[in-house]
Symmetry: C2
Subunit: 427 residues, 2 copies
């Protein structure tokens, strides 16, 4: 394959794709200079269309958990693909995978598979309504649960009716949650929560156990279903539902992204009491029962069970966080690093329009490190401590390059527009 220039690809894309690209991987959401197209990925690294290599802290926005092209996962996928993938019915691996997930995820008694994270959250919403015969579902303000009309952060194409019974509360705020539950009265069907607060543009927050426990108790009192959206964080914090870390079991959990280490697969897992409602839905998709991603997921989960990847993530993430703080301080900067070290969000103190964050991520990109200025990032198990040291050396240079021009950095007009949208409750 001939290398193609980013500019020529963008010009061609602009003709045949609205805006040249859309969705969460559009560079319209990123600083100038970020490549839109990638020609290759391997382990912890990605290559743009011109052959530049980057240490990838976005991991495909989550799917890359063990490293791109993990040999054992790819081999398992290839073995199944040689037998059959999308067929006229599922393969036996569907049962194997459901059993595997039920055995690993404490609250789960059953599994349903789908393709998008949004499929899983939409099925959770419908299951909660079918289970209770009620309508109102509470969602933390600013949380992302997918891009269907009921949840997309963009306003276009959405009717008020699409979210007539979606009501906000404040993550980690017990009083806010209680007020929203009280207001829902006898029409409360469910409560959504992310495993931790991983909204864009704002500091991440781990779940307060008191909030998690209260959410559970309120669901128990009202009969509503508690739903954890693990699509982004699943298996990055625990080899179980993330809220097992705070001792709270949901009724439903939504999974995707990392489940098959990049193979397209998502899932809704549920407790026994929600089985009847989930089974009453008519939900399906042309590729939902394809076997190859399921075989990849079974192998991914085996590796998760048998390795200490979580300790590896914690060691890498801690070194990155500590090292970045030190490098920033050495050049007169103060960072705001938040969330679990395995899913870092790196912003700057006193940087309300993120102009420093934008400029820093550009300096990092120029040094071969792909970091996101306002979205949580991801580690993958293929990353080594040497990779982290590479990133820290790049950061030292990036801060040094940024320091003398600190006062003259301008905010991005695109970013200002995005921030306005975020302030209005969108993405």
């Amino acid at each position: 394959m001939t290398a193609q220039t980013e500019a020529s690809l963008r010009a061609r894309a602009l003709k045949v794709i609205p805006n040249g690209m859309y969705g969460h991987e559009s560079v319209a959401l990123l600083p100038d200079g970020f490549p839109q197209f990638f020609s290759r990925a391997d382990g912890a690294w990605i290559w743009d269309s011109e052959g530049n290599r980057y240490l990838d802290f976005m991991c495909a926005y989550g799917p890359n958990l063990l490293g791109y092209h993990h040999p054992e996962v790819d081999a398992a996928a290839a073995r199944q693909a040689a037998l059959g993938d999308a067929m006229t019915g599922p393969a036996p691996v569907m049962v194997d995978l459901a059993e595997t997930l039920v055995s690993m995820v404490g609250h789960a008694d059953w599994a349903m598979f789908c393709k998008n994270g949004t499929d899983a959250t939409s099925m959770a919403l419908m299951t909660a309504r079918a289970h209770t015969g009620r309508r109102i579902v509470l969602v933390a303000a600013g949380a992302y649960h997918g891009a269907a009309a009921w949840c997309t952060p963009g306003p276009m194409g959405v009717l008020p009716e699409d979210r007539a019974f979606i009501r906000p509360y404040l993550y980690n705020d017990v009083a806010s949650l209680e007020a929203a539950v009280a207001e829902a009265g006898d029409d409360l069907a469910g409560i959504f929560a992310s495993p931790f607060k991983h909204d864009v543009f704002v500091d991440q927050e781990l779940p307060d156990p008191a909030y998690a426990e209260r959410a559970r108790a309120l669901c128990d009192e009202t009969g509503a279903l508690l739903i954890i959206d693990e699509v982004r964080a699943g298996f990055r914090l625990a080899k179980d539902c993330s809220w097992s870390l705070v001792g709270v079991a949901p009724d439903l959990s939504c999974w995707g992204k990392s489940l098959g280490n990049g193979q397209p697969l998502s899932a809704l897992l549920g407790a026994e009491k929600a089985r009847g409602a989930a089974g009453s839905l008519y939900v399906t998709g042309s590729f939902w029962f394809a076997a190859t991603p399921m075989a990849a997921a079974i192998e991914t989960l085996r590796i998760l069970r048998e390795t200490d990847y979580l300790a590896h993530f914690e060691a890498l993430g801690t070194r990155l966080r500590v090292g970045l703080d030190a490098a920033a301080a050495a050049h007169g900067f103060t960072l705001r690093q938040s969330g679990p070290v395995q899913m870092p969000l790196i912003m700057f103190a006193q940087d309300p329009d993120a102009r420093l964050g934008y400029a820093f991520s550009q300096e990092m990109l120029a040094r071969g490190v792909y970091m996101h200025p306002w979205h949580n990032m991801f580690l993958c198990a293929a990353m080594t401590m040497a990779d982290i040291e590479f990133a820290l050396a790049a950061a030292d240079e990036a801060f040094a390059a940024l320091a003398p021009r600190r006062a003259s950095v301008q905010p991005s007009p695109r970013l200002l527009a995005l921030l306005e949208q975020a302030a209005a409750g969108g993405h």
Copy 2:
């Protein structure tokens, strides 16, 4: 891999999957004895978990267009997979594929990719609303456009608000369409149509050109968007949008299933005038930009352009239809075969509860031919005339076996329940 019994797989599945299976590939919708699980697929054939082989007239419900494991498509997919699949941005193949589709599909000026057919139809719905600033979308009664809350044929988990502005009309009925448009008044956003009427349980109908032209004219008069849902029929009737056969160009078309010959991919294609609205949506998915299915689609489309697969489909389908009618008549049966021969629907005359269709499909299954009693079927390009003759020989035996017990065949209670649901407007 050890062969597993269907019974043991079903017993295990029942524990960890609601009802043991769900969606369009659930055998709850099929006669007793149909296998739920498949261990292998190749060309035009599938093998169940116990090793029984069937000539597969369902083609994974559509994705299998060229044959399972088509060597050139699989090679193209493998080449891209070796480079990168789900990455932190799309690969150049995304642009190549968008250009390819725009060059093949007459009405299309741009493409957006997604995973499920339902993603494409939901994006079409939102694009129509964003484009017009209006709410009402007309859908032919009984048509299937996906399994999201606004369109799923199942009632559970759905609120009246989810489909508050979805209004029915009768396919091929100009007066009905005109009345629905008039009733929508100045709130009409779009009109959905299938390429032909391929509803379940009833005879299929090719589109009346007068109906297609009137739908186009009504959209032109009102500014609403005309949307063709090609998810099921795409590239099976034409190497262009199916309505090119009646000389009508829609504003949007939805594609999926066959696009990547089994690789998970769907797409929304649109005319220039809808580009701005489509680009204004925030729609996305974790795996939407994965490169491997796009590479498979480019190769699939190349093969479609360069081969006479449509003539092959027509020859196979015509021989099947004529041969089945003759075999049926020889044993005293009359069939109702409807729709294009490339996507046959085979039912029995005077069989309102489909008991004969159920019994016939069981007899065919026992002879190694997988046919569906109430859903349109599919051909694949890997099928040969010898395969069709194999099916016709099986049919001759099946009719012969069915004839003496014709009077004593009982209807399926599960089917009766399904028919009641269909009569109520569902699937």
